[in-house]
């Protein structure tokens, strides 16, 4: 199981509410196959303690993911990835999860007056610099 530190990257200053950041990260990790069916998620308390955030915020995220069918509550274990949660097989599904971040970047590029070629080149450089998560 990945450690809670590795699992979530929470930045309260970001324009996305904290609960959304957790929801989207779990969605991406499951879609990308880093989290598979039966994998245990860090406890609400552990995530809240690690990031000094409100435990209810983490609970809210987990409950939304449970309602979505991505997580299930298992007695004595807390939250695990649901048996029927599958990595998004088609590249299209995974790309759909990336779309919001790309739209934000595109909007900012336009505001900064950066040409499409230059923005794409910059994105390529960032991609090659980011280590692939284990």
């Amino acid at each position: 199981m990945p450690s809670p530190q590795a699992l979530f990257d929470i930045q309260p200053q970001l324009s996305t509410p904290i609960y959304r950041q957790v929801v989207e990260q779990v969605q991406r990790l499951v879609a990308g196959g880093q989290l598979g069916p039966g994998d245990e998620l860090p406890s609400v308390r552990a995530v809240a303690e690690r990031h000094a955030i409100n435990p209810m915020t983490v609970s809210k995220a987990y409950s939304l993911l449970e309602a979505e069918g991505l997580l299930e509550r298992r007695r004595g274990m807390g939250m695990v990835v649901a048996a029927r949660a599958q990595p998004a097989s088609a590249d299209e599904d995974r790309l759909a999860l990336l779309a919001p971040a790309l739209e934000t970047a595109a909007r900012q590029a336009a505001q900064l007056g950066i040409a499409a070629d230059a923005a794409l080149a910059a994105f390529a450089r960032v991609l090659h610099k980011t280590p692939k998560e284990e």
Partner: protein, 284 residues
């Protein structure tokens, strides 16, 4: 379920000697209901009435009109059974200068049931606070830490903290934010009302935010909802009257209208507002 904390048309008039037409009241018809388990950030400029509101809620100041209730009981007639479930740390810590931290805790344990000395000591250690020193020899930051440890020592159901972290360094503040949820042994979540100017700290932990300006409650909203839906639209002229979904008009920056983007979809692409941005718009 009754709210953990509620105010109904709470007003506090200024003493005649200080009365001014610009600010006739310290608190002006403040009305809210805070649900159990909410962690509410009380935000406003200096003099907005944050400390006064807390003192009224606790029954330490008698309002001129209106009423408030804590855990379902009127602030001005709190039964002991409710007092025991409250924790409060004032802006200027109320400490006995000659007593050490440990002696403060002993005094408290003699009065309040449910004081867990081991938990309190663990919390003090986490906040890097020595309990062996007399209060008079502690730095202001350490006095604040002691006040917070005392406010939490009996696992209160309702916690009111007035500027608890102003003198703490950033690392201690992070530990303090964790402490808000610590020492909880009861199944129900603790309700917290905390005032602070350190809004980035509040952004981490609050479920709700309450903006106070010149004694008036401007906005009480779930924080996630504020981040997701509140936006500013350029608006040079003040609207004749605010319509549904319009929160506040500010003349600053060429005129801005704070709106809920669910009612005003054209605001959907505007920048997200942090707590500081919101405070600025609401106070100009």
């Amino acid at each position: 379920m009754s709210p953990a904390l509620e105010a109904r048309q709470l007003c506090l008039d200024l003493d005649e000697r200080y009365w001014s037409a610009a600010r006739p009241r310290l608190l002006d018809c403040v009305d809210f209901a805070i649900p159990e388990g909410a962690v509410v950030g009380l935000v406003g400029r200096n003099g907005a009435g944050k400390s006064t509101l807390m003192r009224c809620l606790l029954g330490l100041t008698t309002p001129s009109a209106g009423e408030s209730r804590l855990l379902g009981e009127p602030s001005l007639a709190l039964p002991d059974a409710v007092r025991e479930r409250l924790g409060y740390a004032a802006q200027t810590p109320d400490l006995f200068p000659r007593l050490t931290g440990l002696e403060h805790l002993d005094e408290m344990a003699a009065v309040y049931p449910g004081v867990n000395l081991r938990d309190a000591a663990a919390l003090a250690a986490r906040l890097d606070l020595s309990l062996g020193q007399r209060a008079s020899s502690l730095s202001l930051g350490d006095q604040q830490k002691l006040a917070v440890v005392l406010a939490l020592a009996h696992d209160p159901d309702l916690l009111l903290l007035d500027e608890p972290v102003a003198s703490l360094d950033p690392i201690s503040r992070r530990d303090f934010m964790r402490a808000l949820f610590a020492l909880r042994h009861k199944p129900t979540p603790r309700t917290v009302l905390v005032s602070s100017h350190l809004l980035s700290d509040l952004e981490r932990v609050v479920s709700h935010v309450m903006f106070l300006r010149e004694g008036r409650l401007q906005l009480f909203i779930e924080w996630d909802e504020a981040v997701e839906h509140l936006r500013c639209l350029p608006c040079p002229q003040p609207p004749a009257a605010l319509q549904a979904g319009q929160v506040h008009w500010s003349p600053a920056g060429g005129g801005r209208l704070l709106v809920d983007a669910r009612a005003w979809p054209q605001a959907g692409t505007a920048a997200v507002l942090g707590m500081e941005d919101l405070l600025e718009v609401l106070n100009t």
